[in-house]
Amino acid sequence: MNPAISALLFYLFALAALVSAIGVIVLRNPVSSALSLALCFGFVAAIFFNMGAAFLGITQIIVYAGAILVLFLFIIMMLDVKSEDHTSGLLRHSVVGVLVAGMLAGMISSAALRLPGAVGGSCPWHAFTESLCSELCPAAASTDPSASELQASISAPAPYGGALPTLDPAKRGADAKLLGQNLFSHYNLTLVILGFALLAGCVGAVSVGRRLRRD
């Protein structure tokens, strides 16, 4: 696929995913929230496809959109949950929540932009924190040439900046196979433990959700 089209598709899907994610928390009816979440997961799955992780994208659709979301909807229907009404403190909580979440997003973004060799390293937030750090702990901020050399040697390939390395189109079809090989060779034990965790989750769900005998 043309890289430019691929990039364009990513931005489109990302925007759509973010909008539908906002829909999850803004819509008052839980059913609408759940559907919006399904939409969001779909777009994320599309992004996975776009990134070449085909197996994960399929799993995302099957597990999340297929199983989990259905489970959510099922519970919502079963409990007959009404849409949330406005109560006191909603505005206050919303303001604080948006503020905290906004700061979080800003921090993550600026950290992402500060990656070694990243483009747009001169964002204002970055500059601000830089000056703050050097003011708070000048010793740590002082550029020690040997330390920076060491850092350079550690992250020598530094692939984080710039564009992602391109995938070999010939090996695209082998995605599931390679993932499976990795999963069943290196992470076999972890996989078994994960199976037990799922089993424990099932047992726990049953024991918690079962109706207690009234006697």
Binding site: H93, V96, G97, V100, A101, M103, L104, M107, I108, S110, A111, R114, T129, L132, C133, L136, C137, A140, A141, Q151
Partner: protein, 613 residues
Amino acid sequence: MLHNLPWLFLALPLLAAAIDWLLLFRSPRAAATVSILSVVATLALCVAYLAGLQTGLPDVYSWLPIEGCAINVGLLMDALSMKMMLVVTGIGALVHIFSLGYMKDDSSNHSRYFAGLSIFMFSMSAIVLADSLIMTFIGWEMVGFSSYVLIGHWYEKESAADAAKKAFITNRVGDFGFLIGILLALGVFGSLRFDAMPGHLAIAASGPLLTTMILCLFCGAIGKSAQFPLHVWLPDAMEGPTPVSALIHAATMVAAGVYMLVRLQVSMGTDVFTDTACSVIAAVGALTSLLAALMATQQDDLKRVLAYSTLSQLGYMVMAAGMLAGEAAMFHLYTHAWFKALLFLAAGALIVCCHHEQDIWKLGGLRKKMPLTSLCFLMGTCALIAFPGFSGFFSKEAILDAAWQTSMPLFVTGAVVAALTTFYMVRLCLVTFCGEAKSEGASHAHEAGSTMLIPLLVLSVLAIVSGYGFIADELVPYAGFHAEGVEVGVPFFAGLLALVVGAWLAWLIYGKSAHRDPLGDYTLARILRNRLYIDAFYDKVLVDGVQKWGSYIITCVDDGILRRIIGQGLGLLTAWVGKLLGKIQGGSLRGYAIVGGIGVLLLIFLLAFSIKL
């Protein structure tokens, strides 16, 4: 194995005490047997060593292996300690046997009594055989404890319990100084072993430091040997059983202070004893000797007279030690141990036979009813008042000789004390043994039993002969002791004059039978009878003062600061913080999420922006 035989000196009494206390608590007869066996065995061992038994040096056990001043537990076997052991175990054995008769009709627990005696023998042996000041101190504290137990043997009696506490607490005051002195000695010599503190090591130290060290060590002697101003516990200690008074509060334990001083002089050398320190020690000894003799003249209790005379004689010894006449001090210690034990045991026999009547003005006429006991008491008295030919005569002459050569005031004090001693002892004998019986108990008196008489007779013989050169040279606990023949000089005549004047005055005043002291109405006599009001002063000023301060501290510190400010204040603070934190813990899930989110923000800030790798 054999070279560890001396450890039996400590092991046997301790074992006996443990057996008495733990196994034989309900069978007093067996307990007494065990104790007597242990003390007789140690006596035999001691005699064997003095007769020339050589087993080599006993093992030294490492106790605190501190770098630079390792503290070991070891025994020091030299002439001083072994001959002192003979005095201790010899009198100990006699007192143990005497106790059998003395305690026969007593209703208290004999196992406890004999266990106490054994633990005392153990502690005293530890002092005598100690090879370092630390060991001495440990023994020092243990004799304090056993003395406490034995004074308070009849603890149902309030006066006995009080006396026990008084003895213990008063000794603590002295022990505090002693401990400081030990630490100073460690600083000066770098070691506390008696064989590792020669005087030349101390030359580098300054005079004032040495004086302080010696005087601090002397504090221990002040407490244990009951010197002024800590002498107040000894007369009260007479509340204990009389054999205990004979063993602990006359012959051995109270002499430990003198022994310790002489031990220091032997091991450190007399150079370390600065002039100031010596003057203070001699002055304290002389003052104690004089005051105690004065107070003794107006006491009415049989045992208290003897107690004050013990104080007075201890003052003599300390004075001799202060004059650096360790030889004379140990000579007097040795003769005094025998004849004072004799006096106390004889007094004990009198008391038992007169149905626990101790007031001398209610006794009387015992000469006829208890001839043997009276004779023994008379022998002891003659030795104490230094009648020529008796043991006390030789040792007192030695001290007066030393005083004559050292300082005039000390000599005069010594002579006056000798006169006073004769005065009060003759008074005691006249009132107790002559005239008519003045109470029910005394009129029904009878001769003591054989378990009491045998120790008395043995001690009587020793009280007479122990001063003569052929015995003294062998047995006086001082290396290379040689009994000088009595020189006819100023000290000799002074002693004789004191004897004659004291006896004549006493005969003049107390020769006629009376029911109360003819001198009792004079102000001076009243002051002396009330022990110069020193005890009252301590009670009023020290005890009450301390209690007042204590209660002030309780109201101020405890109630005010601790309870009000800290207790309640902390409570209020905690409640306030709790309320504040309770608001956060409001049960609102969203609130928790927000707080958690802020925490996550901080974490990210710290991890991604603040910490530079």
